[in-house]
């Protein structure tokens, strides 16, 4: 009896799933209907960040603060920070969130390793912000100079650009000593490594916020040699907005993706044109009670805002994935071999791994409203202070 009930339930649910799948298929094949509101629009979404609130994510916090999400029909947008406890692409696959921010190589690794289907729907950072910092005069001015040196790296999937750049120079972990480095810059300052990994918008600033005991003044860029991975063969695409590939067949989700991108573009435009205000908005969000992000102080956030804008506004349209940069990322991911002798990926990612459809729809809609989301950023001068306070 009970068995029969269970079997009946299973049959019923299978039938429902089939019906839903069929409905979804018919929805996508009939584009005209989808646009004219054949679905219930999503009004509440969640965005997963890859780290704690800081100016790296200014656009989303600005969109929240300035009401851009409401303008696009969202009643509630929750931005979920991660303290390293949440892997954005995993949270997206699990359905905990609707969209996620993550670096392209990390997601490519996840796609290959666990067979998940995710789509890069907007490439927020067009250029890589990773650098390798050494002391001026030590002669480490290019990746080729790594040979025989001790090179710091964070691991956790942040290391692939280093290995990709090294592979292009014919180097690997047998000819270069790769050392794990923590998130402070003490390894470089104490000369435990010859060159330390640093993001332009974070750790590089941390060095410049530290007092040089020899002079009593803060360190300056003149004290350092900085290799920008963007200039090397190892450059990989970083912060991108990811969506669940399968769910994109659902017209309501696809529509939410476009509206979400529209609001996001407006947020980042605001951050481009008002870096001080944008940095302040993020800083306020990060220091709000209960967030427990403990960000580095306001001048550090302004520096970060300035540097992040440089990575976003490289002249093209906001968020459009550049085919060449994507291929370069894939090539680097295929070529890189880490200390354990492992590749990040061994075959090309599926074609569904990125799509410009949604960002293009968002940009077109914005253009109709008279909003131009292309162009470059005019950097401002940021004077760092000790400890970034």
């Amino acid at each position: 009896m009970r068995l029969r009930t269970r079997r009946g339930l299973a049959l019923a649910s299978a039938a429902t799933v089939t019906a839903l799948a069929l409905a979804a298929c018919s929805g996508t094949s009939d584009d005209g209907d989808a646009d004219s509101g054949d679905f219930e629009p999503l009004t509440s979404i969640k965005l997963q960040l890859q780290w704690l609130p800081q100016a790296q994510f200014a656009g989303y916090y600005v969109a929240l603060d300035q009401g851009y999400f409401e303008e696009e029909g969202f009643d509630s947008v929750e931005i979920v920070p991660s303290g390293g406890d949440i892997v954005p692409q995993d949270a997206l696959v699990a359905g905990d969130v609707d969209f996620a921010i993550a670096w392209v190589p990390k997601v490519l690794g996840s796609i290959e390793a666990s067979g998940v289907e995710l789509t890069d729907i907007a490439q927020v950072f067009q250029a890589s912000g990773t650098t390798q910092v050494s002391w001026a005069g030590d002669g480490i001015t290019s990746v080729a100079d790594f040979e025989g040196k001790r090179i710091g790296s964070w691991g956790f999937g942040n290391e692939w650009e280093i290995f990709a750049a090294m592979a292009a120079e014919g180097l690997d972990s047998t000819s270069v000593s790769i050392t794990n480095q923590d998130f402070s810059m003490n390894a470089l300052l104490d000369r435990d490594v010859d060159a330390a990994q640093a993001m332009t918008y974070n750790e590089l600033a941390q060095v410049l916020e530290t007092v040089n005991p020899d002079t009593g003044e803060l360190y300056t860029m003149d004290d350092l040699d900085v290799i920008y991975y963007e200039d090397t063969e190892g450059a990989m695409l970083q912060d991108a907005i990811w969506a669940d590939t399968e769910r994109l067949d659902d017209p309501a989700y696809a529509d939410a993706a476009v509206r979400f991108l529209k609001a996001t573009v407006k947020g980042w435009l605001y951050a481009r044109d008002n870096p001080e205000e944008a940095a302040d908005i993020v800083y306020t969000a990060a220091t709000a009670p209960g967030v427990d992000a403990f960000p580095v102080g306001p001048t550090h956030q302004l520096w970060q805002m300035n540097e992040v804008n440089k990575l976003i506004w490289t002249g093209g349209d906001f968020g459009v994935i550049d085919e060449a940069a994507w291929q370069k990322t894939v090539a680097g991911a295929l070529a890189a071999i880490n200390q354990q002798g492992l590749h990040l990926i061994e075959s090309d990612p599926p074609a569904s791994a990125y799509s410009n459809d949604y960002i293009q729809q968002a940009l077109d809609a914005l253009a109709e409203d008279g909003v131009d989301a292309s162009g470059t950023y005019t950097p401002i001068e940021v004077t760092l202070t000790e400890g970034g306070q």
Binding site: D85, D182, G388
Partner: protein, 310 residues
């Protein structure tokens, strides 16, 4: 000198209290002085043996570096406690540290309660049935060999799965469970030893009164176990705090002192005094936890003869 004889012993007690405080302060001052003396005398770059010229990071550091980034002055750490946590108009660091410490203390306390409950039940079961003791005790000992950082993510994953299935399982519950994993061990072992502590002659006496298991337990075994149990509870409290801090770090939960430590450590180059704030906080936390358990002992003074040192 008062002529009232009644005030004499009371004053002596008070004097002893002040002496204890004095020794406590002297101990802390001594550590601070040692810190500053080594910082003054020790070489700025520490002492490294076996370093190869021109090879970064070679050799072994046998004496720590003393420069301001590695060892900030004691007063810098104290001044930093009074400064805004994240610059601007954020609350002073000491306030943020206190809030985080309260959060961790709450999770540790819950972990301690779970650990004590589980430990007592195990102790009772092992005392009641020899077979259970033979079967369980080795596993209890082995359980403590599992490294916490390997165990913590497993608890977290299980917690998340339960949460997704509809039964709310907040992250702090995972932390409390992980803390209880460290806390139950001394209680289980202490309870077993304590419950078996009564002399044979006393057990026989109870038997000659035709007392059953429960009256023997309540009138003889539990009172006799107090001297073994109190140190076990103190150890459990210290373990629970340790477990909670490690659990926070390894599952990445924000809000508590463990996670705060990691976050500030990431800023240690440009703001080296800041990570010491949460470090002081965790020290205070351990003292508060052990001290609270000591309060339980005051209620049980008459059973505390021959208490083992913990």
């Amino acid at each position: 000198m008062s002529s009232d004889p009644g005030s004499l012993p009371r004053r002596r007690t008070r004097g002893r209290g002040w002496a204890a405080v004095g020794w406590g302060v002297a101990g802390v001052l001594l550590v601070a002085i040692l810190w500053e003396v080594y910082k003054f005398l020790g070489p700025s770059e520490g002492v490294v043996i076996g370093a190869v010229e021109g090879e970064a990071g070679s050799g072994v550091l046998i004496l720590p570096r003393t420069h301001d980034r590695a060892m900030p002055h004691v007063w810098s750490m104290l001044i930093r406690l009074g400064e805004p946590t994240s610059g601007g108009a954020t609350p002073p660091l000491v306030v943020s540290v206190a809030q985080a410490a309260v959060m961790t203390l709450g999770m540790a306390a819950l972990g301690w309660l779970i650990g004590v409950a589980v430990g007592m039940l195990l102790g009772l079961a092992m005392q009641r049935w020899k077979l259970v003791e033979w079967g369980l005790l080795p596993w209890i000992v082995v359980s403590q060999i599992v490294p916490l950082i390997a165990f913590a993510p497993v608890v977290n994953v299980i917690g998340n799965q339960i949460d997704r299935s509809g039964i709310p399982w907040p992250q702090w519950l995972s932390v409390a469970v992980i803390a209880s994993y460290l806390a139950f061990f001394p209680v289980a072992v202490g309870a077993l030893r304590g419950l078996e502590a009564p002399d044979r002659i006393h057990v026989d006496l109870m038997r000659s009164y035709a007392a059953g298991y429960w009256s023997t337990l309540v009138r003889l075994r539990l009172p006799a176990s107090v001297p073994h149990l109190l140190p076990a509870l103190r150890l459990a409290a210290a373990n629970a705090v340790l477990g909670a801090v490690v659990a926070e770090v390894s599952i990445g939960m924000r809000g508590g002192i463990g996670r705060m430590l990691i976050q500030f450590a990431g800023q240690a180059s440009s703001d080296p005094a800041a990570p010491w704030g949460p470090m002081f906080g965790s020290i205070a936390l351990g003292l508060i936890a052990a001290g609270s358990v000591a309060l339980i002992g005051f209620g049980l003074t008459k059973y505390r003869r021959g208490e083992a040192a913990a």
